[in-house]
């Protein structure tokens, strides 16, 4: 297990570092076309949304838009607080507290 874990962590480190470094080192040497720069501006929002939505909507391995989906329920106060405060720490805290409360209220799901 221990040796296996070290191997896995090493492999993960390498495959994570390459996509981080390569574009900066290579692309910064060239002048990029204007449309590509505009395209890149949409990348942060696109990535975050693509990460978030499945995380929240998929509950216990299936797409779930009902009130049984605690992720979805916890997302509502988090979204409101994020919109109001624009504060990362407050948003994360409210998200965790919402889930905590939901788990206390709906322990069977």
């Amino acid at each position: 297990m221990e040796q296996q874990a070290i191997l896995i962590i090493l492999g993960m480190s390498i495959v994570t570092y390459i996509p981080r470094a390569l574009p900066i080192i290579v692309l910064s040497k060239f002048k990029l076309p204007d449309w590509f720069l505009r395209w890149l501006k949409y990348i942060p929002v696109a990535i975050l949304s693509a990460l978030l939505v499945p995380e929240v909507v998929i509950f216990e391995d299936s797409v779930n838009f009902s009130l049984d989906n605690k992720n979805l329920l916890a997302a509502i106060p988090s979204l409101l607080v994020a919109y109001k405060t624009k504060n990362l720490f407050v948003t994360v805290s409210v998200g965790i507290m919402s889930m905590l409360i939901l788990n206390l209220l709906l322990p069977n799901y």
């Binding site: 962590i9 492999g11 495959v15 390569l22 949304s49 965790i96 788990n103």
Partner: protein, 233 residues
């Protein structure tokens, strides 16, 4: 130079604080899934990618093969390619060595700050150094502390910590939605990603959805411009 470092570290404060609950959550879950505190430390030091670490710990626990864990990590973290590309035009003045050091610290969260910062400010090595080192330190420390206490806690999902990552994405995404086109890109990316994930089940959903949604954003610009052009005629 010192003031640039300080500026970067100051910009890292919300990230440092935001990493605490998520790092603790990772450390606790990972230690309950059989990772040692040493494993957690090295993973946070060298891999340094929240969602991939959560996924890897779960896969290690369920006995997945090394190659499939590493491949999954690669796919999950391939999105950094786009972030790195997005920072590249602002890094022209820095040496390749500095660039390769800075790129190590690109995460969803640091990029949410730096990607925004470079639009209006000159990118300096000091700013990135301060931002990345401060953020990374917080990540390592939080995950290790979570790992130390994790094995002593039970039934952590009850604590709501499993929602920390989603809440972080929400906290990073919402302030970036400044106009209709951003909202369009956000909705397209989210829906596409969900559809891809639920039908293919693979790990390509984030990168494919992001590429298509950003392309839709650029196309919407053109469409908008044409419209305003025809109005003015």
């Amino acid at each position: 130079m010192i003031s640039e470092w300080r500026k970067g570290a100051k910009a890292a404060i919300p990230i440092m604080i935001g990493y605490v609950p998520i790092g603790l959550a990772f450390g606790i879950l990972a230690s309950q899934q059989g990772l040692t505190v040493g494993n957690i430390f090295f993973m946070s030091l060298f891999v340094y990618a929240g969602s991939a670490q959560f996924i890897a710990a779960a896969m290690m626990f369920s006995g997945s093969q090394a190659i499939s864990i590493i491949t999954t990590t690669f796919l999950v973290n391939l999105r950094h390619l786009l972030m790195s590309a997005s920072l590249a035009p602002h890094m022209k003045k820095l040496s390749s060595v500095i660039q390769s050091l800075i790129s190590f610290g690109i995460t969803d969260e640091t990029f949410a700050v730096s990607g925004n910062y470079v639009q209006n400010n000159k990118a300096s090595a000091g700013f990135f150094g301060g931002l990345h080192i401060a953020s990374h330190s917080s990540w390592i420390l939080s995950t290790v502390i979570g790992g130390i206490f994790g094995s002593k806690l039970t039934e952590t999902t009850k604590w709501g910590l499993d929602f920390a990552l989603s809440a972080m994405f929400i906290g990073l995404l919402v302030p970036q939605l400044k106009d209709k086109r951003g909202l369009l890109v956000c909705i397209c990316a989210g829906l596409l990603s969900l559809i891809l994930k639920s039908y293919t089940g693979g790990n390509y959903n984030v990168i494919i959805a992001a590429i298509i949604a950003a392309t839709i954003g650029v196309m919407a610009e053109k469409w908008n411009n044409k419209q305003s052009l025809s109005y003015s005629e």
